[in-house]
């Protein structure tokens, strides 16, 4: 089953920059996909379109068979509850502990307290931070902060996890740990799309690789590598 499908998607920004050009792409349920390419090739635009942070210029995007392009604004929160997001800059709230940051994601979607108290420790354990749940972001290393943000993205068990340069601010040794967690999340059936230009990670994982250049797909390879 196609979890994500792009049909003839074009994205032109207001300043007339063409970010994506005629994108056709299907991503299956449970797939792990690397989106690679140089800065400005359209990777971030791809992710932003998926969570409807920005609208498409033309074409359509289907998520779980539903066209999200004509989704009403009031339905966007519902869409985002089904897509976990991880970013290069973590986007953690500095005045909340690791536990609170993860719990926040459940609070704002109206989960009751007892569910929060069960689910948050579980997911913190999954990312290996169960003994740091009371630490504030500034007390954690970059890698640990990113693991908190993955925990937050995954605590709601969304079918899709998007990661935009999740290892961009992290050293290679720590990045391996992050990739292990993402693999584990993928193993339980979550569709993972990761934008990156980290050559060694892509080469070591041997997953599907889609390469973008100036807004166009120039390569789509099963069990691919970063390229030359």
């Amino acid at each position: 089953m196609n979890m994500i499908e792009f049909r003839k998607v074009n994205k032109v920004y207001e300043n007339e920059t063409v970010a994506l050009r005629n994108i056709n792409l299907s991503i299956e349920k449970g797939e792990f996909l690397f989106l690679v390419g140089p800065s400005g090739s359209g990777k971030s635009t791809f992710i932003k379109l998926l969570i409807k942070e920005i609208p498409v210029t033309s074409g359509s995007i289907f998520i779980a068979k539903r066209n999200v392009c004509n989704l009403k604004n009031s339905r966007i929160p519902q869409l985002r509850r089904n897509i976990g997001c991880v970013f290069q800059d973590f986007k953690l709230l500095p005045n909340k502990t690791a536990f609170e940051n993860v719990a926040f994601a459940l609070e704002v979607i109206g989960k009751p307290g007892y569910e929060i108290r069960v689910q948050v420790p579980q997911v913190l354990k999954l990312v290996g931070l169960h003994n740091k749940s009371n630490s504030y972001p500034h007390q954690l290393s970059g890698g640990e902060q990113q693991r908190v943000s993955i925990a937050r993205a995954f605590v709601n068990r969304p079918p899709i996890l998007l990661a935009d340069e999740p290892t961009g601010n992290i050293d290679p040794a720590t990045s391996d740990g992050i990739m292990k967690i993402l693999s584990r999340i993928n193993l339980v059936g979550t569709t993972v799309v990761m934008a990156t230009h980290d050559r060694s990670i892509v080469n070591s994982m041997r997953r599907r690789v889609v390469e973008l250049e100036e807004g166009e797909i120039i390569r789509d390879q099963k069990r691919g590598v970063y390229g030359d």
């Binding site: 009031s74 509850r81 986007k91 953690l92 005045n95 704002v108 109206g110």
Partner: protein
């Protein structure tokens, strides 16, 4: 999925966190609404003064000294029968002189007066002060001379008119000031709330990222706006009560003394003032909510 406890705690923790910002907003609301309230009370007061002056407009008809009792009685009956007349009082020469002596007690003027130069008079009160000129004309014949027995008719028209126009101007100016101040309040609260939203934009970003509904993001800010407006306006009312009250009452005394107005709807005695206070508090809360609603529109697209 309404969770009041979450919203309350979110409102107050955010207020604690952005204390300076909230403090600024509350102070702003308090000061502007205090001034608004001050002028509102003033306008109501002036209205009260105008009304009481209007009800006190009198016409004094001075009688000739040699008027016969029959003519006097006839005039009294005639005047009483007019529909404009709400009251008529005969003041004899003696009563007039007594009154004069009372008003000028201890003054040298009394020593210089020989006999009783004051005329007897009818003091007429009207139910519609606007008709004063019309009534006065009835004491004249076609040639403009006073009818028999009447020496003079005095109603201080120019004085009353001047007073009316002055109070009307004060009322209009105060009203304009109120409108301007309200606008200023909206802009100031709006800006303060916008700053506090801006300070929390990261939080909003994360909320939207994890799929919080728009109302979920908005409600704490609306609460905050309401809370700040409500607290500010309550402070304004307390200030008004303490400071404004004593000032206005003193001011009223001055007006009462200089204009020789007998009874006034003295401030604080009427329940209008309570309505002004309640109005200000409601206004403060509403201003807070509305301003944060407008300020939120840019950050939380519906």
């Amino acid at each position: 999925m309404l969770r009041p406890r979450y919203f309350f705690s979110e409102t107050f923790t955010s207020f604690k966190r952005n204390f300076l910002m909230g403090f600024t907003a509350i102070t702003t609301v308090a000061i502007t609404l205090f001034i608004v309230g001050f002028f509102a009370v003033l306008v109501f007061d002036i209205q009260g003064i105008i009304n009481s002056i209007k009800s006190q407009v009198e016409l004094a008809v001075y009688l000739e000294d040699n008027i016969s009792v029959e003519l006097r009685d006839y005039l009294e009956g005639e005047i009483s029968s007019w529909e404009e007349t709400s009251g008529i009082k005969y003041v004899s020469k003696e009563q007039a002189f007594e009154r004069f002596k009372e008003q000028n007690e201890g003054s040298d003027i009394l020593k210089e007066i020989q006999g009783n130069p004051l005329p007897a008079s009818f003091e007429i009160t009207l139910n519609d002060p606007e008709k004063v000129e019309l009534v006065a004309l009835r004491f004249m014949d076609k040639d403009g001379a006073y009818i028999g027995g009447v020496d003079d008719v005095v109603y201080g028209q120019s004085y009353v008119n001047k007073l009316f126009s002055i109070t009307a101007i004060i009322g209009t100016v105060a009203f304009l000031i109120i409108i301007l101040l309200l606008l200023a309040t909206v802009v100031l609260i709006f800006n303060t709330i916008r700053l506090s939203i801006y300070a929390r934009r990261k939080e909003i970003e994360v909320m939207k990222l994890v799929g919080a509904s728009n109302w979920f993001v908005r409600i704490p800010f609306l609460f905050e706006g309401f809370f700040e407006g409500f607290l500010g306006s309550t402070i304004a009312v307390v200030l008004l009560y303490i400071l404004g009250n004593s000032l206005l009452i003193r001011g009223e005394r001055v007006i009462v003394d200089t204009m020789r107005i007998k009874e006034l709807a003295i401030l604080g005695s009427g329940h209008i003032i309570i309505y002004v206070y309640i109005g200000i508090i409601i206004l403060g809360g509403l201003l807070g909510i509305i301003s944060s609603g407008i300020a939120l529109r840019r950050f939380v697209k519906a």
